[in-house]
């Protein structure tokens, strides 16, 4: 390879990497602008209680069945596995406390957020994306209505408020699933099962789990709205935005959960 072509190769490489970095920074900037303005405008007029109630219903009430079903079976399957593992050294009664700690600290908020992402986050991206390609977003702007205030603010608030509620229900129903599998099905003593939960589980676990769920709810709604508002093209663009909303939110929630948990442990807030 000649010196000239080597120089060209490295120039191209640097340009390619530079362009990719700029793209990532631009996208993160667009997300931060939409999410930040959408959150900030919750504290400034005009207030739109009707839209907020609609979104609370959409994110919360309409996600309830899927959250309860998945929560019950998550607790159940976790109990099956845990009871088998603990049974190897005769500690089956720890099944309840293990399931409770895992669900309340991390699995409840994370799994519940992933379920809500699949149902509500994707729907937000699809709905807003469709509004974008059918000029409804332009129509909002033409009528002097800020689309971020009108569309994003109620959704991020609904995500931040309703996902913790759903997460608490997910954890509760998961514990019921674990109890049903452990006690009537596997024959573990019910009193010991409950006693271990009372012994090892702490309200702080649930408290921080709910804080996490609130953050993940905000993230999934903000990402859904951002992807919807970023749609280009027609139906294909809407489809891509919907898929990307689910993928980006899911990865973000899992990554955030790791760092969040690590931070809480380092700060001594979770032991």
């Amino acid at each position: 390879m000649s010196a000239g072509s080597l120089t060209g190769f490295f120039t191209g490489l640097v340009e390619g990497v530079g362009a990719a970095v700029i793209r990532v920074v631009e996208r993160f900037g667009a997300f931060a602008e939409i999410a930040g303005r959408g959150t900030w405008s919750l504290f400034t007029p005009p207030y739109r209680p009707r839209l907020i109630l609609q979104q609370l219903e959409f994110v919360g009430v309409q996600s309830l069945s899927i959250v309860l079903i998945s929560g019950f079976f998550t607790g159940g399957v976790f109990a099956l596995q845990a009871a088998y593992g603990f049974g190897l050294f005769g500690a089956e009664t720890l099944t309840g406390s293990t399931v409770t700690l895992s669900l309340s600290r991390s699995l409840g908020p994370v799994f519940c957020s992933l379920m809500v992402t699949g149902r509500a986050g994707s729907a937000m991206a699809a709905e807003i994306g469709t509004m974008k390609v059918t000029e409804q977003i332009d129509a909002l702007e033409a009528m002097a209505v800020d689309p971020v205030e009108y569309l994003v603010s109620p959704r991020v608030l609904a995500g931040a408020l309703m996902v913790p509620v759903l997460s608490a229900m997910y954890t509760g129903i998961g514990m019921l699933g674990a109890y049903m599998v452990s006690v009537p099905y596997m024959g573990i003593d019910g009193g010991a099962f409950m006693d271990r939960i009372a012994w090892y589980a702490d309200p702080e676990d649930l408290h921080w789990g709910l804080v996490k769920a609130s953050v993940y709810g905000w993230v999934l709604a903000a990402v859904g709205c951002w992807k919807g508002l970023s749609v280009r093209g027609g139906a294909q663009g809407v489809g891509q935005a919907t898929t990307q909303a689910v993928v980006v939110s899911s990865v973000a929630i899992l990554v955030l959960d790791y760092f969040f948990t690590d931070l809480l442990m380092k700060l001594g807030l979770l032991t």
């Binding site: 059918t134 409804q136 702007e141």
Partner: protein, 260 residues
Amino acid sequence: MSESPFDPQDAAVVFEGVYKAFGAHKVLQGLDLVVPKGKCTVIIGRSGTGKSVTLKHAMGLIKPDAGRVVVLGKELGKLKRDELQRLRLRFGMVFQNAALFDSLSVYENVAFPLREHEKLSEAETLSRVEAVLAQVGLSFAIQKMPSELSGGMRKRVGLARAIIHTPDILLYDEPTTGLDPILTAQIDQLIAETQQNHPGMSSVVVSHDMKGAFLVADYIYMLHQGKVVAQGEPEHFKTTDDPLVRQFVEGRLDGPIGVE
């Protein structure tokens, strides 16, 4: 090409040397155009010549790469977000596909600008919506959803929504595209009536329907390759021997415009 006879200092909208490109695709290439106050201005030209982009510049929905857009004496590029929002309150816009909100009924769609910007009682809102729906002949459709309306009805609802707050400037983006000739005539008639009923209002109609343009226009601009290539009163466009204008007006395949 003749100069615009209108004073830019007292115009509704002024475009001065506006350039806009989307990637490598150059849309506006030095657009100079003056929209006079209180008249109906029609912008004609082939698809893709930048007519709709011009309208979106007027509302500040798109920013020019170069040049100035001045609306009612205010340069859009210098306005802050809240100032631009206040200026937009003086606009109404009828979108090509109506852009009605799917999840809202006709009543809710038309009432939308009032609910957002005017503190009216429900009875007052209903009365204003009924009045404006009567103007566009759609009183019977007040409780329908947009999905239950035909294309022409959707555009009439879009017009009702655009004029409910009596804007100073009303923009129409291809209002008759996709309609049959009878519905086209109906919409053209409605545009003409709306202008007559609101004499102080400045209207801008983007269209390639020459019959409608001659019916509603006080003044016509023709765009080609991102700039104005002809302008004048409708009579001028009927009689000029400018080959660009003749080819477009008569819809001929041969001529300087070319066919892809």
